[in-house]
């Protein structure tokens, strides 16, 4: 075992052991939020790193959250069954939208705008079916008394922390798995030149579809988890264009080309929002997004690799010297 592996093992043990030694509920709450959103941002970067910039991930997240909650409230279906169904729905939605895009070579700007339309549609449908979903006022899954394993509702933060940690770890694992798979080489070739990639024998449409559906399903899982944890969802918090843009923003700030980049992005954005909220209270409404906006512009102009990405690149180049 080399020191690098040892470091990873120590970090993993520390992360798992944390809630057993440190039980301050508010801090755990922030950590759970960071983990869930990190997973969502990682899901976005799974496809975003290959130049497939989707502004529709708010839509997938909304599907994950709302389908799970609706099945639970109306049919009494346990989230253990509801979440897989919601994931299938999000995957199907991704297929329906992405297939024509890829088949007809809609890339770059056009792809971003088409997916933007998708998050618009999901938001409008949630608002329009207000009899069912509560519209813009939001929606609450019915509570069971105390902690219920079947209902996937837990009162204590420690359980949620462990669940979120596990899901987040799976997200990072998927990121690494793609990083080392043939899909990565295929996708990188495609993002350079689709014609050349096709000539080299890559099935361009199929490869892009695979990665898009994977990313959409992961995002929907993040939405479902968020719903189960917060026990309240509204179109503004889990779907729509601002959520989509927020995902892109956090991933870009952290760095979309490194595994932990989106996580760093989530830590920065959520700490910033919470810090401003505690420091300034209701006076801070709007300030967090103000700072996000400026940071996003500054990062894209001066630091397109993101914080973690640039840091790692600098460390690498200095160790070579």
């Amino acid at each position: 075992m080399n020191p690098r592996h040892l470091l990873w093992a120590v970090a993993a043990v520390a992360l798992v052991a944390l809630p057993f030694v440190y039980r301050q509920p508010y801090h755990l709450h922030v950590l759970v939020l960071i983990l869930i959103w990190s997973f969502a941002y990682t899901s976005w970067s799974v496809m975003g790193r290959f130049g497939l910039v989707s502004l529709g991930h708010g839509g997938f997240m909304g599907v994950g959250a709302y389908v799970t909650a609706l099945l639970w409230n109306h049919l009494g279906m346990s989230p253990w069954l509801g979440i897989p169904i919601s994931l299938v729905c999000a995957g199907a939605l991704a297929l329906i939208v992405a297939y024509p895009c890829f088949r007809f070579r809609i890339t770059g700007h056009y792809f971003a705008l088409v997916t933007l339309a998708l998050s618009g549609i999901v938001l409008q449908i949630i608002t329009a079916t207000r009899d069912l979903t509560g519209g813009s006022l939001g929606y609450t899954p019915e509570r069971t008394k105390g902690s219920g394993l079947a209902a996937l509702q837990f009162v204590d933060k420690e359980t949620w922390y462990l669940i979120a940690l596990a899901v987040w770890a799976v997200g990072i694992a998927i990121w690494y798995w793609i990083d080392r798979s043939m899909i990565r080489y295929a996708m990188e070739a495609i993002s350079e030149d689709e014609d050349a990639a096709a000539a080299a024998g890559i099935n361009v449409t199929a490869e892009k579809l695979k990665i898009t559906v994977l990313s959409a399903v992961m995002t929907a899982l993040a939405g479902a988890l968020y719903c189960q944890y917060q026990m309240f969802i509204s179109p503004d918090t889990v779907s729509g264009i601002s959520v989509s843009l927020q995902m892109v923003f956090a991933a870009v700030v952290g760095g979309i080309y490194v595994a932990l980049g989106p996580t760093v992005g989530a830590i920065i954005t959520i700490m910033l929002a919470e810090g401003l909220r505690i420091g300034f209270g209701t006076k801070a409404v709007g300030w967090d997004n103000l700072v996000y906006g400026v940071l996003l512009v500054v990062f894209i102009i001066f630091l397109p690799k993101g914080i973690l990405g640039s840091l790692l690149a600098r460390m690498k180049s200095s160790s070579k010297r």
Partner: protein, 291 residues
């Protein structure tokens, strides 16, 4: 009897759709102009309009300026904003990947929205002007919408004349056809980009003046017509002025007629669904030639 009433509503919905189409076409024109010439999509276009709406609100209702001073001032302010947007954000990114430009303007969207929240608060505000309603048989149209339609058409005609009759307009059209050659011909592309950004901003300013007559302004008002503007531009073919014009009227009819049969939101859902279906059929835009 039922049929009569139904037809009046149908006719009213169709004419409302045409009126809405004029304003949407104006919105699409500004965005298309920017895309066609500079090859950049301003995701924050609707937020510029939102700021313009606030500008007119403050000039007219708070400072009490007469409308003929307030409206041109509002247009000028948004034109300057468009210029600044290009100078500060787009110019450094001209050689970056297109998607980075898109995301940077997304950052500007965040910034402008929260700037409005911080500076103006989240209250809904309106000018407090109640324009009379025109009754045409059994149909009713507010003058605000007729005025908006007329002004939007006038604005588009002015832009058309500018693009075809003036030297700078000709240069702008030429640069949208071939970026490299124009620079070799001794044209200062940077200056043309700035002029185009200012015109795009001015169009947003005009749209703001027209929209604030009909709708309340609040920091998130951009989200209610921003996405639809992008869809119109993509449907018409980004940078294709005539395509955008046709698409705007198509979309407006779908929204208006869809809204007739159920809620307005379903009109929007229908329009979005129509858009996705059209992407299957005509991925390069409504008027694109088949390859």
């Amino acid at each position: 009897m039922m049929a009569d009433i139904f037809d009046v509503y149908l006719a009213e919905a169709i004419i409302s759709g045409i009126l809405l189409g004029g304003v949407l076409a104006l919105l699409a024109l500004g965005l298309n102009l920017i895309f066609g010439v500079i090859d950049v999509t301003w995701i924050c276009y609707a937020e510029l309009i939102m700021l313009g709406m606030y500008a007119l609100y403050y000039f007219y209702s708070v400072f009490g300026l007469p409308m003929w001073v307030a409206a041109p001032a509002c247009i000028a302010i948004v034109a300057v904003l468009g210029l600044l947007l290009h100078y500060i954000v787009i110019a450094p990114l001209l050689d970056a990947a297109p998607i980075n430009q898109l995301l940077a303007t997304g950052g500007v969207l965040f910034f402008l929205q929260s700037f409005a929240t911080v500076a103006f608060g989240i209250d809904f505000r309106n000018l407090g002007i109640r324009l009379p309603v025109l009754a045409l048989g059994e149909m009713h149209f507010s003058y605000a919408r007729l005025l908006a339609f007329g002004a939007a058409l006038a604005g588009m005609v002015v832009v058309y004349l500018f693009m075809t009759r003036t030297y700078i307009g000709t240069a702008i059209r030429a640069i949208s056809q071939d970026r490299q050659i124009m620079a070799l011909m001794g044209v200062d592309t940077r200056r043309l980009y700035l002029v185009t950004s200012a015109i795009g901003g001015a169009l947003a300013g005009l749209a703001a003046c027209l929209l604030v007559l009909q709708y309340d302004v609040h920091p998130f008002v951009g989200l209610s017509f921003g996405p639809i503007t992008f869809l119109i531009c993509v449907l018409g073919g980004l940078g294709n002025f005539i395509g955008g014009f046709v698409a705007a009227f198509l979309f407006a009819q779908i929204i208006s007629l869809g809204g007739l049969y159920s809620d307005l939101e379903w009109g929007y859902v229908l329009a979005f669904a129509f858009f996705i279906v059209m992407m299957f059929i005509r991925p390069a835009g409504l008027l694109a030639r088949r390859q």
